[in-house]
Symmetry: D2
């Protein structure tokens, strides 16, 4: 009996060509698995296409809610942002996909998993580290790094498919290299490969209107959170995935969340990409807006470091590690009181705060204002400054003293 391989399948040219290649090169029975994280691709006809290409079976697995609850929410709670800009859209999806591939592999008794990620990107790392962590016994096949893989262009791939009896309407032209899911869409390639060039936004944007073309009227939005989890938009309770969909619509309309970045890949080189994250950008800003009110200073400070750390971990594909679990435990602990309502206005690329409330607000009007009250007497500041500045002053006196001695001696 043939060994089985689970192929992460999108229906595109690359992963379609991999099907006959896997059969021919390694003699596998190929089981395709298309994991849906909200990429909004045409899934109709995918089954037929996979079979036509020689796969013995196609799984279509919808993990959108799991993606939201298990991956997106923890990253939002941590305010995890890679290199100050990137909201980790692709990075967060990979472990969920890998987990599903491993599940199917176990169910099917497969011995290998195959993915179509290239040898220069981050995704190969994210897929493979997740698979190694969840199923270290499974073989991993990455055709683009395989010395048996000879196809170097889209034309090669089309020819290869044709030669294997697969006649599908793939185009030779390549566009931007894109990755999309519920959270974002990323763009690489074409003019973006030269960082001195402005992105051709007219051509490029998929989810978002450019700010210049967004409506002239701003739009107010309110959101509520419970323990750091978003629960409603404009008064309507929704599950997280629907909240993100709603915010994508709102943010897309108002030109929110377009990022142009030169980032450092795990594999050692810089690359330039444009990301659209309309809903995600709003969600993270709204969450931060609420945290300003309910987290104390010391917690915010350390949490910022933990958020940066989580961003590194997720970017590097190390989701299924003890460190990610520990960082997440830290973050979850801080979310206990991140409950309340935030209001903001969307306007041509801007998210403008318009008021925040929380039952757990640590803001106290009487304390912040000029008045002296029970909690705080202006004179208390005397003692505080004396002690807070004591190390400085002791040092300065010591230096003064040494200077005087030196002067005396000279």
């Amino acid at each position: 009996m043939k060994e089985k391989v689970i192929l992460a399948y999108s229906g595109g040219l690359d992963t379609t060509a991999i099907i006959p290649w896997l059969k021919e090169t390694y003699g596998y029975e190929v089981i395709c698995c298309c994991v849906d994280c909200g990429q909004e691709e045409e899934l109709n006809g995918l089954d037929e296409r996979a079979k036509l290409s020689g796969a013995s079976k196609l799984y279509i697995e919808d993990i959108v809610d799991e993606f939201c609850d298990d991956y997106i929410v923890p990253c939002v709670q941590a305010n995890a942002v890679y290199e100050n800009k990137y909201l980790l859209g692709t990075s967060m999806a990979r472990p969920g996909i890998a987990k599903k591939l491993v599940e199917i592999a176990r169910k099917e008794g497969a011995t290998a998993i195959c993915h179509g990620a290239t040898g220069k990107g981050n995704d190969q790392i994210r897929f493979e580290l997740s698979i190694k962590a969840l199923a270290p016994d499974l073989k991993i096949i990455a055709p683009w790094r395989d010395s048996n893989w000879k196809l170097q262009s889209r034309q090669d791939e089309i020819d290869f498919c044709t030669a294997h009896g697969i006649h599908l309407p793939f185009s030779v032209d390549s566009s931007y290299s894109r990755d999309r899911n519920l959270w974002h869409i990323s763009h690489e390639g074409l003019e973006l490969e030269d960082p001195s060039l402005e992105p051709n936004y007219e051509h490029l944007l998929v989810l978002t209107t450019p700010p210049e073309k967004a409506p002239d009227e701003g739009e107010y939005v309110t959101m509520t959170f419970e323990k750091g989890v978003p629960v409603s938009v404009n008064g309507k309770k929704m599950k997280v995935s629907d909240i993100i969909r709603e915010l994508n619509t709102l943010g897309g309309k108002h030109g929110i969340g377009i990022i142009d970045i030169v980032e450092n890949r795990v594999v050692g080189m810089k690359s330039r990409g444009v990301y659209e994250t309309p809903g995600g950008t709003i969600l993270m800003e709204a969450h931060e807006q609420l945290e300003e009110l309910v987290l104390d200073r010391a917690t915010m400070e350390v949490k910022k470091d933990m958020g940066n750390k989580l961003a590194q971990i997720v970017y590097e594909g190390k989701w299924f590690t003890p460190l990610r679990e520990a960082v997440q435990a830290f973050v979850e602990s801080t979310q206990e009181y991140v409950t309340g309502e935030v209001k903001f206005k969307l306007y041509k690329g801007n998210i403008i705060k318009a008021g925040t409330t929380s039952p757990y607000s640590l803001y106290s009007e009487s304390l912040a204002s000029f008045t002296t009250g029970d909690l705080y007497d202006h004179h208390d500041a005397d003692g505080f400054i004396t002690l807070f500045g004591l190390p400085l002053k002791v040092r300065a006196m010591k230096m003064l003293e040494l200077q005087k001695e030196n002067n005396k001696n000279n």
Copy 2:
């Protein structure tokens, strides 16, 4: 002979009332010092006003260039931002002012320095820590915390002035509490004291047009940096202070740099403020845009922590400390190659990147793109992933093994 006190003087009601109070309460000869950091206040007639109020002398000291070169530039190079939002406009100015006050005190042989900061804010700390560090032998007088200070309202102050023969046209009404210098203007008070309320931007903004009223046409700007220092805007070489002035004009016009924040003060409470930093926001973004191209990943990561650290230090008034010097030494070392040109478009509150170049760019198009070359073979990723994922895999195998043993034993 009377002892002399140097009073940080603005010409406003508070510091004017302090003059007779100091004379009467402590018998000092009062020497006023107005340190100009670019607050664009009326300095004409200030001398007369100070004398009329009983001061024996008024110094007007312009430290705008020193403020830019010694305080702003290091913070920009560090990307120092307090609590993700605040660009430290007031915080950066305080040590420079204190330094000048100490200089005047030494020149005049004064024994004390007096400032008008209240007992609930951060500025008292920033002034006093700087003075302690530079002149630990000088006495510091903070009337608002002084038990001899009995004036509790503007009306009290006006009455006090009148009673001491000072007849000046001060208004009883108070507006927002503001602090302005070349870098920014801050606003506190009135409706801002309730974080659930949207700021009344129409009423409030001084430097910046609200995005809604900014021009419908965006405007391209180019800037160049040498070793992390801004040197030109739109092709014109300028000193830093002029660059900030130019960027203030451009940013103000296009609605850039309005921040609404609930922040944590050093003295322990949360306060809510709005900051306008039009030029500063552009300058920091532009600098980061260039760093993306020339700094390696590891340096960026640690520098982010150092920038957060510097923001804390500056916010807390600890400028004149060994730690600030050490952090600055770190940051300066990273700026060696932060040289190049950035281009961006300003449009209704947005700073949209439009291309970056540097002779020291670490971006390599051939490396980032799909092609295999001398420097990088797709197969190299195999070995990398094997080793990068080794700890994960070893751990997973150990767990698998333990699980099997457990199964056997049960």
Copy 3:
């Protein structure tokens, strides 16, 4: 009816004198509470002494096990060490004591809590921050900072007691200032106040034999841990408090855990102390020894930062804060597999490792040794180094290129 105050009572001169002072100065009914964290003081007769001094009641509360389980264990798991040396013996005990005082206050309907800590130390902060966090409505009385407290010496206190009819055999002589509990004993004062002097160990040590006088024969000890919690010593299962007692005996005998440190107090000055922590030193080393085997590198690195952070938090008295909870959640998450056995030899101040085992050990002999195996091929290192070193190499090539261009142009 009189208001009640709960006094943290040790039976010593200071807290005894406070009883009549509280009655006389504030008219309180004084309820004493002696919280036992393992200080091994004479508790016999304490009740009589308290009553004789005018207290209406004495509580003696044993919290040794709570101290171990809720405070010590989390700090051991975090390897929390302040300024590289101090094992936080006093710091960890304060929140537990404060919690108990608050409990008694609630039970008694008291309106205030009083402690005898001085105005220059850390303990006042630790007590008061804990009380504020647990019972913000209670008044806190700190006689040593109270302007009504006039007693400046031991003789003053004795006279004051006598004048109030309290005749107890207190000595005028003062020795080292000490704090003792199950975990440690600290010493300050006398020759220690001059950091240029060697401590007079003969005179000073209480728990520990000086290494020079420890036995000439070393002694092997084995310990086991489960999920980061110590569970046995030399094969005997014991609760944590008994483990610490046992290790105190063993460590004390062999001269372990004497620390001489100049540390930075929260209140801003440096102080010099000697700490004896025989059992604690062993416990922390043993725990680290096991972690070496079971924690991966990335987790160890971040955990080290978290441990330092926890040490700061605990030292500063901020136990009852969201940040401490979050850091503890991080640490606990890492302890899941810290299970196994450590063996070491105690010999004249040395803890010498003698072998470590764990079912979850990530050490693999075949992997570590020279041999090539399934998991690792020497050639994998090629790819790893290419990618790991890529940023360096790209940068070096860029610099070489620029240099060549410069040479050409000159």
Copy 4:
């Protein structure tokens, strides 16, 4: 004309066998270079041996002082310790060696550098990253990872040498795998490969007497530092290399600096080693002892993180990077006042502090002691605690209030 390769040559079997292998496999002219970092090996006859083995030339380069001044001192100043234990002896030496190899390569016009490090260790990374950073155009040859290298055992190598006419008295037996230089000696292999076994110290130790066999009399040592650089031992001024030699003698005699560690290699696995660093351990402790007196708390805290960071960088072979330069700049800035004298006693593995002095000491006896003085009034602590504890208290009051409301509602 043949291309030239520079071979890092030790005179041992491995690097001797590499000479004919390089000539035969790649047709190189082989130039040997033995870089002396204080490994105390027999350098006599090395020239003859290299030539006899087929090398065209041998360089013997003494970089001991450079090793001390440029690599060791910065790491001591940073207190750089890897994973709490390892003093980086091998790690610090590699970049200096690589730099020298590159110098010789440039001088000789060589096109490649060859080293004998294996494919599983850290050293390959350290050598190669340094070479890449300094001379990205040079080819690097690592025979142990080369598919043309067929020798798998010492016997294979001896046979290969013999077959190529090299008759040298190499032994087939292998001992511990060791690396030695002025700073330390490391041991791996044999019983150390099993972490459950106690090291066979009698057999293993080279530089250090086991504590059990060290003299029964302790020995006092004084050292002085200027700006963080050690300048004298026991009153004798010496250059750093001589100080380390002297401390090695003293520390070795008294059983100082033996470390048994399971560490995480860069290449992803754990390995177990024993390190002897007698002088280095003393030097680092002495330096820390002085820093306790002269560094303020905030600087110490951040410096600890920077030291950990430097340890990571150096361990990973990333010496020639902008990040190492920036971290070093931070550290150097902190050393300005690390000047003074430390005294300690060495006794059977213990370094016991015996007094520290510095003209820049921030310790103040009057401040630390109980007395109230000019600088500090006990009452100042009131205000300090009020503000320091304000966030806690505000939070606690908010919670109390919410609780009351809840109670009312239920």
